[in-house]
């Protein structure tokens, strides 16, 4: 077991969050609407990070939990120690992608995010139609929500021609400089 606090130091440097602040009261988990569906609920993740153990860390970034988290901020709203768990979750997700160990169960969620950003990258604004097509291609869930299409059309909620912004070069630069694949 590594005892040189590398993991907590890394997290502190990237997010400013001090993992040691957590005193394991569990209030975050108690209030988390998705805790019951998570393989490791938030307070458990904090505990595992506190061990500074690479094996535990691997388990976390391979977990489904970090992808289920929606950053609703219920946890930090109630945390007696004001530990910014959502910020840590953002860090863990990015690290999970970087280390190529995204949980297979969470792949659709990541696909959704990628389709979303892909659509934004093309035109600067999100076209829900193009994002959904991208998502379907990524996950091969071709028929999902197809029954919504007629009523959405009737309600004028679908736009097939994506809006584009003028500053496309600007946008390209943003994506390039922030290193998004």
């Amino acid at each position: 077991m590594a005892t040189n606090h590398q993991i907590s130091t890394r997290i502190k440097a990237a997010t400013g969050v001090d993992i040691a602040m957590c005193y394991q009261c569990g209030k975050c988990t108690a209030g988390c609407v998705l805790a019951g569906d998570m393989d490791y609920p938030s307070s458990m993740i904090m505990r595992m990070l506190q061990t500074n153990d690479e094996e535990n860390y691997r388990k976390i970034i391979s977990s489904e939990a970090i992808w289920l988290c929606q950053n609703c901020e219920n946890c930090i709203g109630r945390c007696p120690k004001e530990v910014d768990i959502p910020k840590v979750m953002d860090y863990l997700r990015a690290d999970s992608v970087k280390n190529k160990c995204v949980s297979p169960k969470a792949k659709p969620i990541l696909s959704f995010y990628q389709s979303f950003l892909g659509a934004v990258k093309t035109s600067g604004r999100l076209s829900e139609v193009f994002m959904t097509i991208g998502f379907k291609l990524r996950t091969l869930r071709l028929w999902q929500d197809i029954n919504l299409v007629p009523s959405m059309l009737a309600k004028g909620k679908l736009k097939f021609i994506p809006e584009s912004i003028k500053g496309k070069r600007n946008l390209k630069n943003i994506f390039k400089s922030t290193n998004n694949k």
């Binding site: 219920n74 950003l117 076209s127 630069n173 400089s177």
Partner: protein, 281 residues
């Protein structure tokens, strides 16, 4: 009175009725909302989940454009967009180095001191005082005000209502004649962007919310976020399946409720665009 306006992508698409109702309401109170020219997507729930720098740079571009176009204040009705813009502003103001690198990305420098208003702050500041004199049809219904996650959080940055058991929407609804009910899910997450990837979870989380509101006799659920709206409204078939009953409580935007109270025609407020019919109101 002219204010900058950031619709965001949802209001431009699936949530166009939210856009319509905000735009219909503002002129009644002498306010002109002007779109920020060439605004871009804020990155919403996707960018911060996978790339922090991107999640700051995307909102920063819009904030910088708004500043360049001379706005002191911008109105951001979408709670998710509002959250991203407010967080980006806060984070960049805290860290000079980070701001410099983001300025390089967006190829613009900016002061980053524009005032960002969410829909409740906007109503509080420009509409609330004048509502009573404009009311023509009292909104006399029992309503469940659903704040969702992002309207009042993070408290450190937004700080206009308390995080637990907030009351700002309830007060507004009371003002137009409604009876807000006490219920248990004011700020519980609806499942947010899991809507497409994990519809099952959204059905569960949103189901709990809709069921509690209906059980306690709410005639409508009042929201201020397009993501909340689409989960509670568009996902109603899945919700009904999860809770095992058909719930017909409609979900309407706060701006639609106020719009009805001040006598704007329902079609102008986009009420016909909801999946769950709004004919009871």
């Amino acid at each position: 009175m002219k204010l900058g306006f950031y619709p965001g992508c949802s209001l431009n698409g699936t949530a166009r009725e939210y856009n319509e109702s905000v735009k219909a309401l503002a002129p009644v109170f002498g306010i002109e909302l002007i779109d920020i020219d060439d605004w871009n997507c804020c990155g919403a729930s996707a960018a911060h989940a996978v790339n922090r720098d991107l999640s700051l740079a995307l909102p920063a571009r819009t904030l910088a454009l708004a500043e360049k176009q001379g706005f002191d204040e911008i109105v951001v009705p979408c709670a998710a967009c509002f959250n991203r813009l407010a967080v980006a502003q806060y984070e960049l103001n805290k860290d000079e180095m980070l701001k410099k690198s983001v300025e390089k990305s967006i190829d613009m420098t900016f002061n980053n001191d524009i005032k960002i208003l969410n829909v409740v702050q906007f109503i509080d500041k420009y509409i609330k005082d004048k509502i009573l004199e404009k009311i023509s049809h009292k909104f006399e219904h029992q309503v469940a005000c659903y704040y969702g996650c992002l309207l009042v959080r993070p408290n450190k940055i937004i700080d206009f209502d308390r995080v637990e058991d907030p009351t700002s929407l309830d007060e507004l609804m009371q003002l137009i004649g409604a009876t807000p009910i006490d219920w248990g899910f004011k700020t519980e997450c609806c499942g947010a962007s899991l809507s497409i990837a994990r519809t099952d979870l959204v059905a569960k989380l949103s189901g709990n919310i809709v069921k509690d509101a209906a059980d306690r006799g709410a005639e409508a659920i009042i929201v201020a976020c397009p993501m909340c709206h689409s989960n509670l409204d568009m996902r109603r078939p899945q919700i009904d399946e999860y809770v095992g009953e058909k719930i017909s409580t409609p979900v309407i935007y706060i701006t639609q409720a106020i719009g009805l109270a001040v006598g704007i025609a329902p079609e102008k407020l986009g009420l016909q665009r909801h999946f769950v019919k709004v004919n009871t109101l």
